[in-house]
């Protein structure tokens, strides 16, 4: 419309860059918040006006992911302004926001570009820009968690580079649109797809290379954890999906994702810290979405609904966790009691977020999961179907048991926190409700 075709994606990339230039002049926080709003607007515009495949490749799936990234970016930047306002952190405030902007740029770059090699570069640069964010509050455990994150993810993504080399070897090009539209058959492509599951799956929570996930999520500050769970892992999932489209290895993907879900459910039972609990729930949701992508057809729709509502719920969950941490100064579930009495908004936000994360109707994630389970059953994957349902039920029970324990038992807290933080958490957790309601209306309109 108003803009030239390729100008829009470039503009999306440039806005946070412009915001980070104000690093020198001291008002980067305001600039980041403003750029967040502009970005959401631009991504909605992108839905209407997609450029043709060239340097950038945008289709409906990419637009959805871009919208997710920009929204969570906006929420996290607002939340961060308030979260760090009274506390001293290791890296300076301005540096934190600069890194946040770079992090977002690299994620958007990965989503938009039409070249597998450059997508790999984008994923590597997300690791670089997010590594320092984890050690914001400097203590021994967060250093250890950041180190594990760097080493495990870098080693895994380097492994995935082998698959990129193999793709180039077989097809002679790295442009995504040409490879997906033509069809190549070669045993090296099978190898490439399998390697990329394990390689990029390191960043996306696939068993057995997920081990950095709970550590990084529990040690990073809450807005950073929200960005990790809400958008970083889905971006890695996006890359896996694009490579999967070259040669669908359905059985392998479904079984490994099922294994990861079962493992996540088992680990979740033992958790006694709420942030790690939410981290394992992220792992479970990511793998359900992976099953959806692998199954194809309606599964992809289910996965997209799930990812969209999950990112908002999980961001809300981590924002509430940040609030709880500021209130009670403890990371353990047992130390948190009686939220409902003392700070009702946080309690409601926490409840809604965990309902959304574990998939209770009428939240959007429930509908996404139902569609995926239905496709699983339809395509005769009966054993994974049963395993996944058992795991989901178990996760549901564990999370909600812990959350209700935190909210409703008796106890007292005396600290007060800033209203804005609570409101952001509340808004973020209500969005999935809105999505779910929208879907209900759609279904009601159909029926």
């Amino acid at each position: 419309m108003i803009f030239n075709n390729t100008a829009l994606p470039i503009l999306i990339l440039l806005v946070p860059a412009v915001a980070s230039i104000t690093f020198k002049w001291g008002n980067i926080k305001l600039a980041t918040a403003i750029s967040g709003i502009i970005e959401i607007f631009l991504s909605l515009l992108l839905y209407i006006d997609k450029p043709a495949p060239g340097v950038f490749f945008i289709d409906n799936i990419s637009v959805l992911f871009i919208f997710m990234v920009t929204s969570i970016y906006f929420f996290s930047s607002l939340y961060s302004i308030k979260y760090f306002s009274q506390h001293d952190i290791y890296i300076s405030d301005d540096l934190y926001f600069l890194l946040l902007n770079l992090f977002t740029i690299s994620m958007l770059f990965t989503l938009e570009i039409n070249n597998f090699g450059l997508m790999w570069v984008g994923i590597e640069s997300t690791t670089i820009s997010s590594a320092l964010l984890i050690i914001t509050e400097r203590n021994e455990t967060s250093l250890e968690a950041a180190w594990r994150y760097i080493i495990i993810v870098s080693a895994g993504v380097t492994f995935a580079f082998i698959s990129i080399i193999l793709i180039y070897y077989v097809t002679g090009t790295l442009t995504m649109s040409t490879i997906i539209n033509s069809s190549f058959k070669s045993k090296f492509l099978i190898l490439a797809v399998a390697i990329s599951l394990m390689g990029f799956g390191t960043k996306s929570g696939v068993f057995p290379v997920h081990t950095w996930l709970p550590d990084a999520h529990s040690e990073a500050p809450s807005p950073v954890s929200a960005m990790f769970s809400g958008v970083l892992l889905p971006v890695a999932l996006y890359v896996i999906y694009r490579i999967y489209e070259i040669y669908p290895l359905k059985t392998v993907y479904v079984w490994i994702a099922t294994l990861s879900i079962v493992m996540a459910a088992i680990f979740l039972i033992y958790q006694d810290k709420y942030k790690r609990m939410f981290a394992y729930s992220t792992m479970e949701n990511m793998n359900i979405a992976l099953i959806g992508f692998a199954l194809g057809g309606p599964g992809i729709v289910g996965a997209l609904i799930l990812l969209l509502s999950h990112s908002f719920s999980k961001a809300g969950a981590f924002y509430s966790s940040g609030n709880i941490l500021r209130l009670t100064k403890s990371k353990k579930i047992d130390d948190v009691n009686g939220l409902y009495k003392n700070s009702p908004i946080t309690a409601i936000a926490l409840l809604f977020s965990s309902f959304g994360a574990s998939g209770i109707p009428p939240f959007g994630s429930f509908f996404g999961e139902i569609i995926i389970f239905f496709s699983l059953y339809q395509q005769h994957f009966l054993v994974p179907f049963i395993l996944v349902i058992i795991s989901v039920i178990s996760v549901f029970i564990s999370i909600n048991f812990n959350v209700t324990k935190m909210t409703f038992e008796n106890g007292k807290n005396n600290s007060k926190i800033d209203r804005t933080m609570e409101i952001i958490a509340l808004i973020s957790s209500i969005v999935p409700l809105a999505i779910g309601g929208y879907i209900l209306i759609l279904m009601g309109g159909l029926v």
Binding site: G117, L118, W120, V121, E124, S125, T127, I128, A131, L132, I135, R138, E140, T141, L143, E144, A145, A146, W147, R148, I150, I151, S154, A155, T158, F161, I162, I165, Y168, Y169, L174, F188, L191, P214, D215, S218, E219, F267, Y270, Q271, R276
Partner: protein, 214 residues
């Protein structure tokens, strides 16, 4: 194979052997120097192949390897070792045990993977026989084993750089990767090392942490 091919084969095998050298040494500064030896070997390989194929890309690649890997990474890492403790050693390390476990690991993983997977790949023209691909594979797994078997941060960084070296070698042999991608890879690794050097200043050893179990 004729003379040039034998030389290329020999240099590639020296890369794999320097991986064993890095594994078996205790001094941290020797690890860093060992990694620069590896990068010099890879750069020389890139120069030789660039002259053979008259390809400017490979020669530029070689120059970039020398500048980024050998000079800059060494500079950043050596800065983080304090002057007095230049000869610091990793504690509680037993070289023979690790070397033998490393040998078993390499033999099992590389040989199996190579035999079943890569043996049917054909390299372009006649630069080197196709079975030269086993050397980057060995170096890659050496890097992984180095990370898994050591507790000190410096050595784990070196293990990661070794993995990236193996990727470059793989790329050089298999096909000429577009220069942009190679350039970005280098800058990535450099940025990673810079960040790691920040962490290394804080934390030198990694032991199991109570909070992060489970």
């Amino acid at each position: 194979m004729n003379m040039i091919q034998s030389i290329i084969f020999l240099i590639a095998s020296m890369v794999a052997i320097s991986g064993f050298y890095i594994q078996g040494i205790e001094f941290i500064i020797a690890n860093i120097r060992g990694q620069s030896i590896q990068s010099i070997l890879i750069a020389s390989l890139s120069f030789i192949m660039g002259f053979l194929e008259r390809s400017l890309d490979l020669i530029i690649l070689g120059i970039m390897v020398v500048i980024l890997r050998v000079i800059l990474i060494n500079y950043f890492l050596e800065r983080t070792i304090p002057k007095k403790r230049k000869f610091s050693v990793e504690k509680y390390l037993s070289v023979p045990y690790l070397l033998i476990v490393d040998l078993i690991f390499i033999v099992l993983s590389v040989i199996l993977i190579y035999k079943f997977v890569f043996s049917s790949m054909i390299l372009r023209e006649s630069i080197a026989p196709s079975n030269i691909l086993v050397f980057p594979l060995i170096t890659f797994f050496q890097g992984m084993f180095l990370i898994a078997s050591r507790k000190s941060t410096h050595t784990q960084i070196i293990g990661y750089v070794e993995e990236e070296n193996a990727m470059i070698l793989f790329g050089i042999f298999l096909l000429p990767i577009p220069l942009i991608i190679e350039a970005s890879i280098f800058l990535d690794v450099l940025a990673l090392v810079v960040i790691s050097s920040i962490i290394v200043l804080e934390k030198n050893e990694h032991n199991p942490v109570e909070d992060l179990i489970g």
